[in-house]
């Protein structure tokens, strides 16, 4: 500011910064790589590093854990297990009063693949990971339940036996008289949808550095937590400390959040315990497998939806029965996604009568958590698929059905039956604008032409009300009225911001929004610059937060698109306080009343006579240097904090109505897709998205949020799903298995805007960063349904699913077929199978002898550290194996049976380790071939645990490589180095080994 050349310029009329595409103040830092993320920040000397052992089973009792070998390794400081955690912490508080205790490590049983079982703390991460492989856990496998429909059956295995059921909460809600409406109408349209588990998976995983300071019993924690701070008391109570003894510091830069970084909290507690036990700071950086397997997922949800419909397409009532799958534990604020949209379950429609049944289901999957959209993608998938079905079943145009039912223009603020107070909007104008400016008529022509040419082309629509800034009382809707009365009313959403002016007139801002890339600093700069007549790039925003130094509330954080209607408002209020103060100080010098003072170009001046001016920095200096000169009664210094919570965010009422959000934007989308008849691939030909987000504060950032939200929407529609096999093995543990959309899958959408400012927030801004996450998946699904004439469309629409909708099923991959002569793998488990031949230049008898010689086997089994004969023809070995990123140590058991010397033998047994469990058998046949031997083998194996998360092709390839490696070494052992003839040349092996990260 002081150095700004604009200071010498003549004062200008006040400049408007809001609404302009101001380039981001964050970018110069990030573009040069100097925006430091949590793992990049300095830590105290002596900081230790943690690595976590995770469960390979979906459901098992922990019988014993032997950490002695791991603890004895060089560099290992401590190994903690569930019993340590149980001794040092209390279970996490949960939203329901149900016996579902959970700690930061599993105690007596594991309930999902990837659940943390033990933590090793060592001098560095490499040493910690080495030691993880040396922990021995004895499990007793229990039947797992994965499918939520199976979980709600009476005889299903129980995830939490003390609850007595897998449904710890069920509530029924009725608004108006839906039964009557359903009995009156011409037709009832029904549909069941099944929304998949997915997550936006930020590219930076969780990072925690915990430093216990024994003097005052303070846990000083640096972590990339994103709020809301409703879990701060959950953590401090678990740690049995005061709130102020748990100091949470969050960084200025975070590598994406999307809700997911809320669920870091169990690890915060775990590392706090590790630091207290070791009296040293402990750092943990989550890896990608850990993130995909064990961070969180948006809940998969089954919704039975029904609409009562008149012949003309008017929907008079809705019924929803929701079965929402929370996985193995209910981590606060779960089951948020089931209630976050509660007030607005009628969507964009003026339906008055509705019933809702909410069932919360537990299964042996990763716990569910916060993900962008937060229940919206699930419910809009049901509502908008249902509207499309209404059109199809009544023979009407889908857009006509949408229009007929939209909330009428002119009825805002509009109270929806379940309680949402929709602040503003004009849905008719919005849809008309999108139809006209997006080129719907042209798109319809294109569809007709494509269809006439025999191609599969469809158009989909979606209308979505986009809620923003959650009412912190929404989750209390889950408990009945009487219980709510006892607990006291909950509502609101408190925001804080501080504006500070230093003695040279530089303005700095701090705020409680914990951004993860949304450009909050830029918008705060615009808001403050506009109030104080400065340039946004001269305002310094520090987006770090520290619970010991900054004001915070339970609502602090970055979620529910709250920024532009909460923290931004608090910043505006704080800037106005500063402006008033400076106006009063300046009015003394300018000799005009304070109301006549204006700000611009770094000067403070008389509104009617801009030449009568004083430098901004000079006025600010007065407050610092000459408090005695300030107007009578004015507080010295110049730093203002403002807090804000909108009065419209009332607690739920006795009729279970809840205004779940402060603002409600409108999104109307349509798209044209073409389905490839041969491959089943879905190509998005055109996508139009119209947004009413109220007043737009920065169009550049606004469009960026829409593009990003749309990009994830495309991923949800076409690619992304966390897949489990029926036995609970997790199959999506790498980015080669959990597919994120790339620049080749995400087209450029046409973005259109209209602005109906919110009357409830001083800036008039509503949310816009989550709408496409709700609208895009169902819009694409509706287009595919239209292209194929399909009814039951399940996401993601992978080519094989689309082919199935077209009535064709894909053949299963060859390698997964069991080999005939061996026992088939158990149904539900991940299987790998194969066969092969090799010729070796020694006689069958020599090969046979080698197979029974422990010393030779020890030298030839790849990665074998140790091998003992435990019984005749039965071995136990300790081996290191790896596939891609999944590498680890296993205990192997192998028994030789069905012996037919020297012609054939069956090898059976398994591998067991932190990475998973493999059980299988192989038949090996030896036949003389010239002077040598032809070896034929076939094998079947079932794989569970972490290793199952690796894609099938990778696993099959790696298995083959290992078998070849074994025989190659065996031959080298017998012949003194001759290479085998047969499939696979050495160079090919090397290449594949390298490609798989298996370099020896």
């Amino acid at each position: 500011m002081a150095a700004s050349p604009s200071l010498t310029a003549k004062p200008m009329p006040e400049q408007r910064w809001l609404g302009r595409p101001v380039e981001r103040v964050e970018d110069a830092t990030l573009l040069t790589g100097s925006g430091y993320f949590t793992d990049d920040l300095p830590v105290r000397a002596g900081t230790l590093h943690a690595a976590i052992l995770r469960s390979p089973h979906a459901h098992a009792e922990i019988l014993s854990i032997d950490t002695s070998k791991a603890a004895a390794r060089p560099g290992v400081v401590v190994v903690l297990t569930g019993s340590d955690i149980k001794a040092d912490t209390d279970p996490f508080i949960i939203v329901l009063r149900q016996p579902m205790d959970q700690w930061s490590l599993a105690t007596d049983r594991v309930r999902f693949v990837g659940e943390a079982v033990a933590v090793v703390v060592a001098e560095n991460r490499y040493l910690a990971e080495d030691a993880v492989d040396d922990i021995r856990v004895e499990y007793r496998k229990l039947p797992a339940v994965i499918d939520p429909l199976r979980a709600i059956e009476k005889d299903a295995p129980l995830v939490h036996p003390k609850v007595g059921s897998n449904v710890p909460s069920e509530r029924h809600f009725t608004y108006g008289d839906p039964d009557r409406r359903f009995s009156e109408v011409d037709q009832v349209v029904s549909l069941t949808v099944n929304y998949p588990r997915n997550s936006q998976t930020p590219l930076e995983g969780y990072v925690v550095v915990a430093d216990y300071q024994p003097g005052e019993g303070v846990y000083d924690v640096l972590c990339n937590f994103q709020g809301p701070f409703t879990v701060h008391p959950v953590m401090s109570k678990a740690l049995r400390c005061q709130g102020a003894q748990l100091r949470i510091r969050t960084p200025a830069y975070s590598g994406g959040g999307f809700g997911v970084k809320q669920a870091i909290f169990p690890y915060v507690v775990l590392m706090c315990v590790a630091s207290r036990r070791t009296r040293r700071p402990v750092k943990w950086v989550e890896d990608r497998f850990e993130h995909l397997a064990a961070a969180i997922a948006a809940p998969n949800r089954i919704i039975h939806a029904q609409a009562a419909v008149k012949k003309d397409g008017t929907v008079t009532a809705l019924r929803f029965e929701q079965i929402d799958d929370y996985g193995a534990y209910l981590r606060p604020p779960m089951p948020g996604p089931l209630y976050r949209q509660h007030g607005i379950m009628t969507g964009a429609y003026g339906v008055k009568d509705m019933s809702i049944t909410n069932k919360l289901v537990m299964t042996n999957k990763t716990p569910s958590g916060m993900v962008r959209g937060f229940g919206g993608p699930q419910i809009y998938y049901a509502i908008e698929r249902l509207m499309q079905r209404v059109a199809v079943e009544l023979g009407l145009d889908p857009l006509d059905v949408i229009r007929k039912n939209l909330i009428p223009a002119g009825s805002f603020p509009y109270r929806a039956p379940a309680g949402a107070l929709i602040d503003s909007g004009d849905y008719q104008t919005g849809t008309a604008l999108a139809e006209r400016d997006g080129g719907l008529a042209e798109l319809r022509r294109k569809r007709d032409e494509a269809r006439a040419a025999g191609r599969l082309y469809g158009i989909g629509f979606a209308a979505v009300v986009e809620p923003a800034q959650s009412n912190m009382g929404y989750l209390s809707t889950i408990v009945p009225v009487e219980e709510r009365r006892k607990a006291g009313p909950k509502g609101g959403n408190v925001a804080y911001a501080t504006v500070h002016v230093d003695c040279l007139g530089t303005v700095s801002v701090t705020a409680d929004s914990l951004p993860q890339g949304q450009g909050h600093a830029t918008i705060l700069s615009q808001i403050v610059a506009e109030q104080l007549g400065l340039d946004p790039h001269d305002i310094r925003c520090n987006m770090e937060r520290d619970t010991q130094r900054d004001p915070w509330s339970i609502a602090t954080g970055n979620y529910s698109s709250r920024f532009s209607s909460s923290t931004a408002v608090a910043a505006q209020m704080a800037a106005i306080k500063i402006r008033r103060k400076l106006s009063e100080i300046a009015s003394q010098t300018l000799n005009v009343p304070a109301e006549q003072v204006a700000f611009g170009n770094g000067k403070i001046f008389a509104k009617d006579n801009p030449d009568n001016s004083i430098r901004f920095s000079r006025v600010a200096g007065t407050a610092h240097w000459s408090p005695g000169e300030l107007p009578t009664g004015m507080a010295p210094g110049i730093s203002e904090t403002a807090s804000y919570s909108a009065p419209e965010l009332e607690p739920p009422n006795d009729a279970d109505q809840i205004n779940t959000s402060l603002t409600y934007g409108f999104v109307f989308d349509y798209c044209g897709v073409e389905v490839d008849r041969d491959t089943g691939a879905v190509r998005i030909d055109k996508y139009v998205t119209m947004h009413d987000a109220g007043r737009i504060l920065n169009p550049l950032i606004a469009e960026g949020q829409i593009y990003g939200s749309f990009g994830w929407g495309v991923g949800c529609a076409l690619l992304e799903e966390f897949v489990y096999s029926p036995d609970g093995s997790f199959l999506s543990g790498t980015f080669a298995d959990y597919l994120c959309p790339t620049s080749c899958e995400v087209p450029r959408p046409v973005i259109l805007h209209m602005e109906c400012p919110s009357p409830f927030t001083p800036l008039g801004a509503k949310g816009l960063a989550e709408g496409n996450v709700m609208s895009t998946p169902v819009c694409i699904a509706n287009a595919v349904a239209d292209a194929l004439g399909a009814r039951d469309v399940k996401l993601p629409l992978t080519p094989s699913r689309v082919k199935a909708l077209m009535g064709e099923t894909e053949r299963p991959p060859r390698a997964a077929r069991p080999v005939s002569s061996l026992k088939a793998p158990k149904a539900g488990a991940k299987a790998t199978a194969g066969s092969g031949t090799l010729t070796v230049p020694v006689a069958p008898e020599v090969v046979w002898r080698a197979l029974f010689d422990p010393t030779i086997l020890k030298r030839t089994i790849p990665g074998c550290h140790n091998l003992d004969l435990v019984a005749p023809n039965s071995y136990r070995a300790d081996v290191s194996l790896g596939v891609g990123i999944i590498k680890g140590r296993f205990a192997a058991r192998v028994a030789l049976s069905d012996l037919d010397p020297p012609r054939a033998a069956t090898l059976s047994g398994g591998l067991e380790g932190a990475l998973g469990i493999t059980v299988g058998s192989a038949r090996v046949r030896l036949a003389p071939q010239g002077a040598g031997t032809l070896i034929e083998y076939e094998y079947n194996a079932e794989i569970s645990g972490k290793a199952a998360a690796v894609g099938g092709r990778m696993l099959d390839g790696a298995t083959k490589v290992l078998i070849n490696q074994f025989f190659q070494r065996l031959i080298a052992e017998m012949t003194g180095g001759a290479a085998p003839a047969g499939e696979g040349k050495q160079s090919w092996w090397r290449r594949l080994l390298n490609a798989l990260g298996l370099g020896t």
């Binding site: 110069a28 830092t29 990049d40 590219l203 990608r288 890339g517 980015f735 995400v746 450029r748």
Partner: protein, 168 residues
């Protein structure tokens, strides 16, 4: 030729952003970890450690490479360039970085260094790329925030400006 021993730290040298640097590394240490932990270069980010996301991309002898799939010892004696090689020493953004800012091609910025390096290497070999070619190059990277639109525009605009200025 360096003879490597498990568990031992070996001295290696490389030319990092134009300067010769030395460090000690175990044979198993990844180049990404070596740059971050041994050479104090946290601007090399890590996203998946299995070669899919592209976050950790650096240039090795001018070619984009996943530093998470490269052992530090493999980069011994070679030229390694990171995001620091783009802006000038006062931190002034180069034309591509400025275009990223103008087109709002980044949000959280975690994937950005790797993408900028791939894009620079790509533009050196493709002076007048089509949008499809830019998209295919970018498909080696995952960005979860932006939907890629701003990046595509920034790269195309930079290509056009460099072509018309005659400085590919």
């Amino acid at each position: 030729m360096l003879e490597l021993k498990e568990g031992q730290r070996h001295p290696i040298t490389m030319t990092l952003d134009g300067q010769e640097v030395r460090g000690l590394t175990e044979p198993r240490m990844l180049l990404s970890d070596f740059l971050r932990q041994e050479l104090g270069r946290p601007e090399v980010h890590v996203g998946c450690e299995h070669g899919v996301c592209g976050v950790c991309t650096v240039l090795i002898d001018g070619k984009p490479a996943r530093s998470c799939l490269t052992f530090a010892v493999q980069a011994a004696g070679r030229r390694v360039d990171t995001i620091r090689s783009l802006a000038d020493k006062d931190g002034k953004l180069n034309d591509l970085q400025s275009a990223f800012r103008r087109h709002h091609a980044l949000q959280c910025g975690y994937c950005t260094p790797g993408i900028l390096l791939s894009a620079e290497a790509f533009l050196r070999e493709n002076a007048r790329p089509s949008e499809q070619e830019v998209r295919e190059m970018l498909s080696g990277h995952i960005c979860r925030c932006t939907g890629y639109v701003g990046m595509v525009d920034a790269i195309l605009e930079t290509a056009q400006q460099r072509a018309s200025a005659g400085t590919p």
